[in-house]
């Protein structure tokens, strides 16, 4: 048995162990490979940066704990950006299993900037019926969400006196792990009410989002953990946040893992073709 044949029969557990070590090592000892921000994240950042102070950024939390490592850092970074500029944040969600994640962000982020619930940030919660929810919000948010996630009537929340429908919101970001998600916001909020929509998506669904970016329907795109890291870098560059950046911290591990996978794909192909010739 030559080297290539041995490589083709390598136990997958060895590959798992190598991968685990290479992912763990940079988390413990950061390599400082660096993260550069691309035009897609910059477009989303600029759109949030252009919201006048006092106005509202809508964030739709359309993901569940399974995609938390990729998407939660985006939610946190967007909220920090908004609060640093005194922009109000309205949260809602089309994924029922995302309700707890939005609640976690509401508990953790506003106090960092001295922001108060009801005045600077409101979480509407989740409602069944994706299209009906978005269309209803376009007409009157209170009709769809008479009370917020915590049971407060919307009329009793100061922030909601100024935000009554989607037209009152200059920009929104749909952080989505699939369907329902940014595509539904494009379908109903943008095509019907002309809303500017940005998206934060899992890397798996990034390729599906690019056509909407190219056509100008999406204003900015954060793709996967790398997208979140790019946004965190932009936040830090503008001194909006000095907090720990989980996505940036993960990029060294991500880079090493990608190198290993590329090497394994090349070796696997070489071994396959080499042994195929021999088999013939």
């Amino acid at each position: 048995m030559n080297l290539f044949e041995k490589l083709l029969k390598i136990d997958r557990k060895i590959i798992f162990i190598v991968m685990a070590v290479l992912v763990l090592f940079p988390l413990l000892k950061p390599l400082g490979l660096g993260v550069s921000s691309g035009p897609r994240a910059k477009a989303a950042f600029d759109a949030v940066d252009a919201i006048p102070p006092g106005k509202t950024l809508l964030i739709s939390v359309d993901f569940d704990p399974a995609s938390m490592p990729e998407l939660y850092p985006m939610l946190v970074a967007l909220m920090r950006h908004a609060f640093a500029r005194n922009v109000k944040v309205l949260l809602c969600g089309l994924w029922i299993t995302g309700a707890g994640l939005a609640d976690k962000a509401i508990t953790e982020i506003p106090p960092e900037y001295g922001k108060t619930y009801g005045e600077d940030v409101v979480y509407l919660g989740w409602k069944a019926g994706v299209d009906a929810v978005i269309l209803g919000m376009g007409e009157n948010i209170k009709n769809v969400f008479p009370v917020d996630y915590y049971g407060h009537p919307l009329d009793s929340l100061k922030m909601m006196q100024e935000v009554t429908r989607l037209k009152d919101i200059p920009f929104m970001v749909a952080i989505s792990a699939g369907t329902p998600g940014f595509s539904d916001w494009l379908l109903y909020a943008q095509s019907r009410y002309g809303m500017r929509v940005g998206a934060g998506v899992t890397a798996v669904s990034a390729a599906d989002a690019y056509p909407y970016l190219q056509s100008g329907q999406l204003t900015g795109l954060l793709a996967g953990m790398k997208g979140a890291a790019e946004y965190e870098v932009l936040l830090q560059r503008k001194n909006y946040s000095k907090a720990y950046m989980p996505a940036v911290a993960a990029m060294d591990s991500q880079s090493l893992a990608h190198i290993v996978i590329m090497v394994l794909v090349i070796i696997g192909n070489l071994a396959f073709f080499a042994t195929r010739r021999k088999r013939r």
Partner: protein, 209 residues
């Protein structure tokens, strides 16, 4: 190093290791974690649906505020449960017909506008693309890619001559698309692994920030 004393962190850690144990081989511990996840997800979804949607949007207006118009959605909702009674199972067609009719009416125009009209507009070469050479280049590549990829799925004529050349060019674009999707998928899976390791190192062991 500051190991967590939070009981729920420990529960999460044990369940994480339970799921990871599948990498070695299928085992009862993994199966327990998997079934627990499914059960918890369903329970959470039912509870949240009741408290966030059914109770405030149907039960309260109908039974507490006496808004009788809500009897229509209530009856339509009940029709779904007729599925379990063979004699009246056909009742389910009423809410299904309502949902299909309403959803199609709402979705088709919006879908056409968002996914066809706007996408075609985004593909068409307009004078504005000549402003910068890189914009022109990418617009041209997109245009060629769309035409060739669509031609690959044109089955009314045998693919030979110019059509063969175009459809084979289409395959190249499709393969690049699949490659990009695969690359992104790898990145996504690695991100999830990194996320779990960050949880173990930060929230459980306290060895990183």
């Amino acid at each position: 190093m500051q190991i967590s004393t939070n009981i729920w962190t420990w529960v999460a850690v044990i369940l994480t290791f339970g799921i990871f144990s599948f990498l070695w081989k299928d085992n009862p511990f993994y199966k327990f974690c998997e079934h627990l996840f499914v059960g918890v997800s369903v329970g959470y979804t039912i509870a949240l649906t009741w408290y966030n949607s059914v109770y405030p949007d149907l039960i309260t207006p109908l039974f507490r505020q006496g808004q009788l118009l809500y009897i229509i959605p209530f009856a339509l909702g009940l029709c779904y449960f007729c599925r379990f009674i063979p004699k009246v199972s056909w009742f389910i067609r009423i809410p299904m017909g309502f949902v299909l009719g309403w959803a199609s009416g709402v979705a088709i125009p919006a879908y056409f506008q968002t996914n066809i009209i706007k996408q075609i507009q985004g593909t068409i070469l307009t004078p504005s693309i000549f402003a910068r050479w890189d914009v022109f280049l990418w617009a041209l590549i997109s245009f060629i890619g769309v035409i060739c990829s669509v031609l690959y799925f044109f089955f009314s004529r045998e693919h030979k001559g110019a059509l063969k050349l175009a459809s084979e060019t289409g395959i190249v674009f499709l393969m690049i698309g699949f490659g990009a999707s695969f690359g992104y998928t790898v990145m996504a899976r690695m991100s999830l692994l990194i996320g779990r390791f960050q949880f173990l190192l930060r929230d459980w062991l306290g060895v990183i920030r």
